[in-house]
C-alpha cells in the first residue's frame, strides 16, 4: 500500500514543512530585550506530523481508488453511508430517539447547574446552526455576518428592557422580527449579487454592526455593554439562580424542538425545494419560473429571524451583553457547525454543534487550539467529506415503470 516512492515523497513534504514553519515556529524573538529563543523541538514535531499526514492521505486516497474500481467492476456493491442506514431503519432510530429524549428531559436533575449551563450554550448553538443551515446549507448563500443578527436580537432585548421595561416573552418575537427585517433590508440589494460577493458583504456588514455597537455610546453604552438584564420570567414566580437555569434549559429545549419541526417542514415545502434547486443551479431555477431574489430573501430573513431569537435568549441567559460577544469568530464557529454537520442535514448540525461546543469545554487542554482546529476542520471537510458528518438525505421519488 505504501511504496518506497511514497516514503521518499513524504520525506520531501516534511522537509518542505520544516522550511516553511522555520521562522515562525522555531524562532521566537523579544525585540525589546533583544533575546532569541530557539525552539528546535518544534521542528521535530512538524517533520513527524507532516510526514504522517502525507502518508495518511496517500493511504486514504489509494483505498478510495481501489474501492471505486471494485464498485465499477461489480465485485462489491456501493454501500450507503452508516448514517443513512441508521436513519432509515425504524427499529434503530425510534429507541435511539427515545433514549436521547429521556436523557434531555432529566439532564438538569442529574447534572450540576454548571453542566446545565454549558448544555444551554450548546443547545443555543444548535438553534443558531439550524438557522444558518437554512441560509448556507439549504439555500446555498454563504452568510459570514450571521452574528450581526444574533447581536440585533441580544441588543433589542437589552435596550427594550432598559428603556421600556419590556419582558422576555414580549421581546422574543420582536427581536426575531427586528433581525429578520434587518436581514431583508440588507438582503434586498445584496442578494442579486453573485455568491462570493455576498460572503464578503455580509462579513463587512457584521463588522459594521459590531463597530457601531462599540462606538455609539449614547445608543448602546459602548464597549462596556449593558448589564442587569432580567432572566426570563415564569408567570411572575420568583426563581432562584439554579431554578432559573433549569427553566432556561427547558425553554431552550423547546426552542430546539420548535426549530427542528419548522426547518423540517420548510425543507419539504414548496419554498424548501425551491431553495435546494437554487443552490444547485440558479439559471435552471430561473428558467423554471422561480423568483430568484424573493426565494433567496426568504431564506435570508428566516435565518436572521432565528439568530435574533437566540440573541434574545443569549441576553437573558448571560444577563449582560457587550459588543465583544459578537465578533467574526462567532460567525465562523456557527459556519463550522453547519459545514461539519453537513449542509442541509438537521441531525448532522445537531451532532456537530454538540461536538464543537462541548469538546472545548470538557477538554480544557484542547481549548487553546480551538480556533486552529475549527479552521482545519473547514478545510479538511471541504476536501475529504464535503457532504459533512451526516449527509442530508435528499427526497427521492420512485416512479414505477409502466
Amino acid at each position: 500500500m505504501i511504496s518506497l516512492k511514497d516514503i521518499q515523497k513524504g520525506l520531501l513534504v516534511s522537509l518542505w514543512f520544516v522550511f516553511l514553519t522555520f521562522p515562525l515556529l522555531v524562532i521566537k524573538v523579544n525585540p525589546i530585550e533583544r533575546v532569541i529563543t530557539w525552539r528546535w523541538y518544534n521542528m521535530l514535531w512538524i517533520a513527524l506530523a507532516s510526514f504522517c499526514c502525507y502518508l495518511g492521505v496517500r493511504v486514504y486516497k489509494s483505498r478510495q481508488l481501489t474501492r471505486h474500481k471494485r464498485v465499477k467492476l461489480g465485485i462489491v456493491k456501493e454501500r450507503a453511508a452508516w448514517s443513512v442506514r441508521i436513519l432509515k431503519e425504524p427499529s434503530v432510530y425510534i429507541p435511539f430517539l427515545l433514549v436521547v429524549g429521556l436523557f434531555a428531559l432529566v439532564f438538569p436533575w442529574i447534572f450540576s447547574t454548571y453542566q446545565t449551563n454549558i448544555m444551554v450554550t450548546a443547545l443555543m448553538y444548535i438553534v443558531l446552526g439550524l438557522g444558518l443551515n437554512i441560509v448556507v446549507g439549504v439555500a446555498g448563500l454563504l452568510d459570514l455576518g450571521y452574528v450581526a443578527f444574533y447581536a440585533v436580537g441580544a441588543y433589542s432585548y437589552a435596550l427594550l428592557n432598559m428603556h421600556f421595561g419590556l419582558g422576555f416573552w414580549m421581546v422574543l418575537p420582536i427581536g426575531g422580527l427586528l433581525a429578520a427585517s434587518l436581514g431583508i433590508l440588507l438582503g434586498f440589494p445584496v442578494l442579486r449579487l453573485r455568491g462570493d460577493y455576498l460572503a464578503i458583504v455580509t462579513l463587512g456588514f457584521g463588522e459594521i454592526i459590531r463597530l457601531i455597537l462599540e462606538n455609539w455610546n449614547d445608543f448602546s453604552q459602548g464597549p462596556s455593554g449593558i448589564s442587569n438584564i432580567p432572566r426570563p420570567g415564569l408567570f411572575g414566580l420568583h426563581l432562584s439562580l439554579d431554578q432559573s437555569i433549569t427553566y432556561l434549559y427547558y425553554l431552550v429545549i423547546a426552542m430546539v424542538l420548535f426549530t427542528i419541526f419548522v426547518v423540517n417542514r420548510l425543507q419539504n415545502s414548496r419554498i424548501g425545494r425551491a431553495w435546494f434547486a437554487l443552490r444547485e443551479d440558479e439559471i435552471a431555477c430561473q428558467a423554471m419560473g422561480i423568483d430568484k431574489t424573493r426565494t433567496k430573501l426568504t431564506a435570508f430573513a428566516l435565518g436572521a429571524f432565528w439568530a435574533g431569537m437566540v440573541g434574545v435568549i443569549f441576553a437573558a441567559k448571560t444577563t449582560f451583553v457587550n459588543p465583544a460577544s459578537f465578533t467574526f469568530l462567532e460567525s465562523a464557529i456557527i459556519l463550522c457547525i453547519v459545514v461539519l454537520g453537513g449542509m442541509g442535514s438537521i441531525i448532522g448540525v445537531i451532532l456537530a454543534a454538540l461536538i464543537l461546543i462541548l469538546m472545548p469545554e470538557y477538554l480544557r487542554a484542547f481549548s487553546d487550539y480551538r480556533m486552529l482546529v475549527f479552521g482545519a476542520v473547514l478545510v479538511t471537510m471541504m476536501i475529504f467529506r464535503p457532504q459533512g458528518l451526516i449527509a442530508n438525505v435528499r427526497r427521492t421519488y420512485n416512479i414505477p415503470k409502466v
Binding site: 525585540p31 518544534n42 453573485r194 463597530l211
Partner: protein, 300 residues
C-alpha cells in the same frame, strides 16, 4: 491647507499598501475566480517573518543595509512559500468542486493561519524595528510627509512597474493572461495551467509580504490580527476597481486610501473601518463590476 496635504499623503501611503495586497486578490480572482480569504493572513505572515528575521539579524550585528535587503528577501520568500502551500493544500483539490467549497476552505485556511501565528508566536502587539532611516533631505517636509511614506510610495511604484512589465511582456505573463481569459483553451494550446496558478499565488503573496513589511516599518507594531482587517480592505479596493483588473486594483486602492484618510481626518476616527465597509457595500449594490471592470453576462 497643510492639514489637507498631510491627509492626502497619508491617504496615498495607505493606498499603496492596499494596492500591494489588492493585487494578490485581483490576480487570483482573475485566474481561478476565487476570493482568496487567506491572502490577508499571508500579508500578516510576511510582516511577522520580517520582524523575526530583522531582529535576529540585528542581534547578530549586521549593518542596516544588509538587514533591509535580507529581511525583504526572507519575508517575500517565506510568504510566497506559504501562498504556494495554501494553494496546493486547500484550493487545488477543489478546482472542480461547487463554487462554495473553495470559499469555505479559504475561510478555514485563514482561521488556521491566524491561530497558527497566535500559538506559535504571541497574541501581544510586538514592536517592529525601525528599518527605514530618516533621510536628511526630507527634513523640511517632515510635517507633511515622512521618510517612510516616501519609501512606501517609491517602492510601490517600482513594484507596479515591474509587475506590469511581467504581465505585459514576458512569456509567463502571456500565459497568465491566457489562463485568465479561458482556462480550458489555455490548456489546449499547451499552457501548464497548474503552474500558472502556482506562479500567480507566489507573485501575489510576495507582493503582500512587501506590503506587510512596509506598513509594519511605518506603523511600528504588529500582531496576529492585522491580516484580517487589511485583507477585507484590500478586497474592498479590488472590488472598487473591478475585481480581476490589475490597473483597477491600484486605482481602487488609492481611492479607498484617500477616502479613509479624509474621512478619519475630517469626520471621526472611531468609525475608520465603517467607512471602508460601507464603501464596499455601496459599490456592490450600485456598480458590482467596479470602476474598471467589465460586467460579465452569465451564459448557459
Amino acid at each position: 491647507m497643510d492639514y489637507f496635504i498631510e491627509l492626502f499623503f497619508s491617504g496615498l501611503t495607505r493606498g499603496s499598501i492596499y494596492a500591494l495586497i489588492a493585487l494578490g486578490y485581483t490576480m487570483v480572482y482573475g485566474i481561478i475566480g476565487l476570493i482568496n480569504f487567506a491572502h490577508g493572513e499571508i500579508y500578516m505572515i510576511g510582516a511577522f517573518t520580517a520582524l523575526i528575521v530583522s531582529t535576529v539579524l540585528s542581534i547578530f550585528g549586521l549593518p542596516l543595509p544588509a538587514i533591509i535587503i535580507l529581511t525583504l528577501l526572507a519575508s517575500a520568500i517565506w510568504s510566497a512559500s506559504y501562498g504556494y502551500t495554501v494553494e496546493k493544500i486547500a484550493y487545488q483539490p477543489l478546482r472542480n468542486a461547487p463554487r462554495l467549497s473553495p470559499l469555505i476552505s479559504a475561510i478555514g485556511m485563514s482561521m488556521f493561519l491566524q491561530n497558527y501565528v497566535l500559538l506559535a508566536q504571541t497574541s501581544d502587539f510586538l514592536p517592529f524595528p525601525a528599518l527605514i532611516p530618516d533621510f536628511a533631505f526630507m527634513e523640511p517636509y517632515a510635517s507633511t510627509i515622512g521618510s517612510s511614506d516616501l519609501v512606501i510610495l517609491v517602492t510601490t511604484a517600482v513594484v507596479m512597474l515591474l509587475l506590469t512589465w511581467l504581465i505585459k511582456f514576458t512569456r509567463t505573463g502571456k500565459a497568465m493572461r491566457a489562463t485568465a481569459q479561458d482556462r480550458k483553451m489555455a490548456m489546449l494550446v499547451g499552457i501548464n495551467v497548474d503552474n500558472v496558478i502556482s506562479i500567480t499565488f507566489i507573485i501575489g503573496s510576495a507582493l503582500a509580504a512587501i506590503g506587510g513589511l512596509l506598513i509594519a516599518a511605518h506603523i511600528g507594531q504588529i500582531n496576529f490580527y492585522i491580516g484580517f482587517v487589511a485583507g477585507i480592505k484590500a478586497f474592498t479596493a479590488a472590488v472598487l476597481g473591478g475585481i480581476g483588473s490589475i490597473p483597477g486594483a491600484v486605482l481602487g486602492s488609492f481611492i479607498l486610501g484617500l477616502t479613509e484618510a479624509f474621512a478619519t481626518g475630517y469626520v471621526s476616527s472611531d468609525y475608520e473601518d465603517v467607512f471602508a465597509f460601507s464603501l464596499l457595500v455601496l459599490i456592490l449594490i450600485f456598480r458590482p463590476s467596479g470602476l474598471l471592470g467589465k460586467a460579465t453576462i452569465e451564459k448557459v
